[in-house]
Symmetry: C2
Subunit: 244 residues, 2 copies
DNA sequence: CAAGCGAGAAATGTCTGACAATTGAAAATC
DNA sequence: GATTTTCAATTGTCAGACATTTCTCGCTTG
């Protein structure tokens, strides 16, 4: 763990990097206690506030947690999928909104990833997950449902589909893609007719999963992508007309 | 932006959350300058070090950048895919190593995601990307190549395959999955025979992409997954024997 | 007049020292 | 022996100061 005080980089950033590297390399193991702030300050030959800034950087990435009190301190955190979800979603959301990623591109990625889950989900989905999907489809058909609630239910439906693959790595990767799309999806106003079409395709997906027919799941997802893209194009055209 | 000084949560965490929410919601836009640390301290009624800790948390997530000097300050950062890559990879790596994700699970996720890219890549890959893949395959066949270099080349090959889909969202999602697998892949010692088999399959993938044959790409990827899994099983069995 | 130079101002980066709040453990008390 | 008290260690927060960087603006000089 070496620090270069003459570098143009913040000392706290250097210290954070040194500790992060130690965690990633396995030199610091899960639940191990770091030296106290005072000790770290002495080791790195900096002041305590500087050490604290470094620790806050690591805490922001969920790499450590801190506890106050006598036997307190900073501990290496076991990074769980559950902890990583919100960060992944926040990052993905900002990536889409700040980089002007087109609806088309985001949608394509999302459905490509979902199709990747289809064969596994067809094979492994639990009755529970299937029931969740059926329930969400039913909810989507209820009259008076707001566009936002409809989107929420849509996310829940697809989430169940992805979780059906029984692979936490896939679920984690897809959480970002699916949830980050929501602000984009919310731009679409769902008419009664388009809702009916989507529900029809959702039902087809659920039926295919029920029958463990991977090919049918993929086909329905492809069709759903095609339909979603066409809805988005309609919205864009209407906007262009309004502006023009 | 409200702060509760009586809450058990760190003030700096609350302040970071308030600013993060403002960024995500769009209240603060890209390249907008935040108030100076002194002003923020006054607004939130906390001291400057506390504000600084909050800003470091945001900097750790690449949400802001800071500049020293007269017209300096903290600015909302345009979160780019390039900035997000290393974080995604670090997080994915730790998720795999800290949660005892099996090689099997990680491998399955990786190839499922890659197969998702296959149709798009077959359709869109540039001659450049194809040339990269051919070059990496050639490198993999050179004698005296270390296991580590072989793995590096493997990553580069698959990276080109994924980038061939021409979808930055997919590339971003896959970067984590592919690169995070490397430490696991490095556990496998590649014999001359297994390298030859892998090169054969890589060649098949490149040929299929050359011919824009999506089905053949998927088939070769499936075969490569099957073979990689069998290699991993061999390693595991040998280890079990040594221990037993 | 233009170009360069320098002083100053504004902002972040860092340090010192102190106190508050929390918490576990040891010591004291019943 | 059980309970309460005290204490020490640690993080959380604050105040003030100085160092460093960088832009701006006015002044000097060719």
């Amino acid at each position: 763990m070496k620090i270069d005080p003459t570098s143009s980089v913040d000392l706290s950033a250097q210290i954070a990097k040194a500790i992060r590297d130690a965690i990633v390399s396995g030199a610091l193991i899960v639940d191990e206690r770091l030296p106290s702030e005072a000790e770290l300050a002495e080791q790195f030959d900096v002041s305590r506030p500087t050490v604290r800034e470094a620790l806050k950087r690591l805490a922001a990435q969920s790499l450590i947690r801190t506890q106050r009190g006598a036997s307190g301190g900073a501990f290496v955190n076991r990074l769980s999928f559950r902890d990583a979800y919100p960060q992944q979603i926040t990052t993905s959301t900002l990536l889409l909104s700040m980089n002007a990623v087109s609806f088309e591109t985001a949608c394509e990625a999302r459905y490509a990833l979902e199709r990747a889950c289809a064969p596994l989900s067809a094979q492994r989905r639990t009755p529970d997950q299937l029931a969740t999907m059926r329930a969400e489809v039913h909810r989507q058909g209820q009259p008076g449902l707001s566009d936002e609630s409809f989107c929420d239910s849509d996310v829940a439906f697809h989430r169940a589909l992805v979780d059906g693959a029984g692979n936490p790595v896939l679920s984690y990767q897809l959480a970002g893609a699916v949830e980050a799309m929501q602000p984009l999806m919310n731009m679409i106003t769902f008419t009664a007719r388009s809702r009916a079409e989507i529900i029809k395709l959702h039902t087809a997906i659920a039926d295919a999963l029920d029958a463990r027919d991977a090919g049918a799941v993929e086909a329905a997802l492809t069709e759903l992508e095609r339909y979603t893209q066409s809805l988005a194009r309609d919205v864009m055209e209407k906007r262009a007309k309004k502006r023009g």
